[in-house]
Amino acid sequence: MQQIHLGAIDYTILLVYFGFVLGIGWVLRRHMKSSEDFFLSGRSIPAWIAGLAFISANLGAQEVIGMAASGAKYGMMTSHFYWVGAIPAMVFVGIFMMPFYYGSRARSVPEYLKLRFDEKTRGFNAITFAVMTVFSSGISMYALAKLLELVLGWSFHTSVVLSALIVLAYIFLGGLTSAIYNEVLQFFLIVLGFLPLVLLGLRDVGGWDGLTAKLETVATNAGFAAGAWSESWSHMESASANPMGVEWFGMIMGLGFVLSFGYWCTDFLVVQRAMAADSMTAARRTPLLAAIPKMLFPALVILPGMIAIALHATRAGGLLPLGADGTPNYNLAVPVMLAHYLPSGLLGLGLTALMASFMSGMAGNVTAFNTVWTYDIYQSYVKPGQSDAHYLRMGHAATVFGILASVAAAYATTKFNNIMDMLQLVFAFVNAPLFATFLLGMFWRRATGHGAFFGLLIGTLAAAAHHGLVLSHGAVPGIKGGFLGTVLHTYPSEMAQNFWTAIYAWTACFVATIVISLVTARNKSDDELKGLVYALTPRQPDHELHWYKRPATLGVIVLGLTLVLNILFW
């Protein structure tokens, strides 16, 4: 694509933003007195701030670039990531899981596993999670640098160093509070920076009706029914009828149930934001309040991709640059749209928003990493029994180390065309079985430490084994599957392959945990499990709250609205 030239006004906006980001860290530095301040914001964050940070931490590279790419590649079906995946899972976290997370006073997700099960389960989770966060933040950094190189002509190394230093500075100074405050700032910046792009794009294609008409060309050109790019559910009766290549069962179970619940319920990166809330009710409301803007995000992140592909297909000369194999480069949908519609001025704001999204994703990973490293690995296995000041110093050191490791990961990342698919793959191996462990841990007191640990292990192995024995259509054996020699099944798409890997992993972990628990002795008595298992935890007294503040009421409202959205775009 043609490079964008930024004017003085664009650089001014970018610099003002960097100034605010660092300024927030600077102002907060005086409040970082204990490790709990640094890692958990001293549990003092109001629900609305925690809620916005909750979605913003997840709003990294994979969301803004990946969702637009999927919007272009798969059309309206991408909305399933929100209206089937994220939202129901967020409601479930708020209503059912937060009472355990917040109530047990665990400082991290792995620590909950230690309280509920045993040391080895915690260790397994802590180590895999630490590796995964470093990897994710490396991908964020890589994607940002690659993009800026392509779009602005900035050197890859400069972008990596610059973004790493800024994120390092504000987390080092202000810990989780600084990360959360900046995530809220980034939230508003992303919404207000991308909205003009969406509005201009929609106006250009003639509103939703005009877009639907143009997307019919896209769909018929690709050999699908006319509505395949603009309808979310109508073409899901079989995998061959839609561009995503998944049928409804694989989508609902794989994406909706296993992957989304696995991510939102057990990923410490997001859960940490709710744990920092100032009270139990605030912690429970955090994901529920977050769900409300979240359900509107498809308009902000998927729609630009859909508009881009519609213009690409209906305008002479196309819009998106083509890759070596002749297919459009979907990952460039957002930057191409920015360059296409925004004049100097708003362009600076749009690019700043894009950088903000990358940095919030990175910061989310780094804060989760330094906490898990310090509490669950260092304090548990390396040097227990030190003073709090010692662990606070370790937190600072872990922040530096986490960023350095991310930089290393950024340089190691290259393989996949669509970042989303790669993240899904990593989540499928590690996260998918984890949700089975939590579900059994929270609702079945008989689940034992051995059951949980070996169940997790078997689930992760099942994921790897399944991935190693299957391929997606047109892929070559290797990192994309089939590496175990024989290919037993070929899925119509990579997405379908990932969803089914998750389903197998979850099922294997679920069954294995039950079987092993039944043949091993319980390692925690009912007394020890108080506050950790549903049946042994006193219900939250909600009736004193105003009706609109009750988590259950909020949850029902959120689910109702999501249902309406699904039906509107059916």
């Binding site: 006004i9 001014t12 906006i13 003002v16 933003y17 605010f20 300024g23 927030i24 102002v27 907060l28 409040h31 003092s44 109001p46 701030i49 509070t177 405050y181 809220v184 700032l185 508003f188 207000l192 003009p196 201009l200 106006r203 250009d204 296409h340 519609y341 925004l342 004049p343 100097s344 001025g345 708003l346 704001l349």
Partner: protein, 69 residues
């Protein structure tokens, strides 16, 4: 709370809004060809300015109330 978050949010968007509004007034109309002929800098600048000022207003009112109480 340690720092009223509405303060930096309000301040930042008020600055962005002011910058874009002024730029929208002084910039050459030709650059708006790509934005469908609309002076989006001016329009969106005013939106951001309004948003920033509302946030600042909330923050200042809360700050005053905290000092009095």
């Amino acid at each position: 709370m340690k720092l009223d978050l509405r303060l930096p949010i309000g301040l930042m968007f008020a600055i962005f809004g002011a910058l874009l509004t002024v730029y929208g007034i002084v910039s050459d109309a030709a650059i708006y060809e790509r934005s469908l002929g609309i002076n989006v800098n001016l329009l969106w600048g005013l939106v951001l300015l309004a948003f920033g000022l509302v946030m600042l207003g909330f923050a200042l009112r809360a700050g005053r109330a905290a000092r009095q109480g």
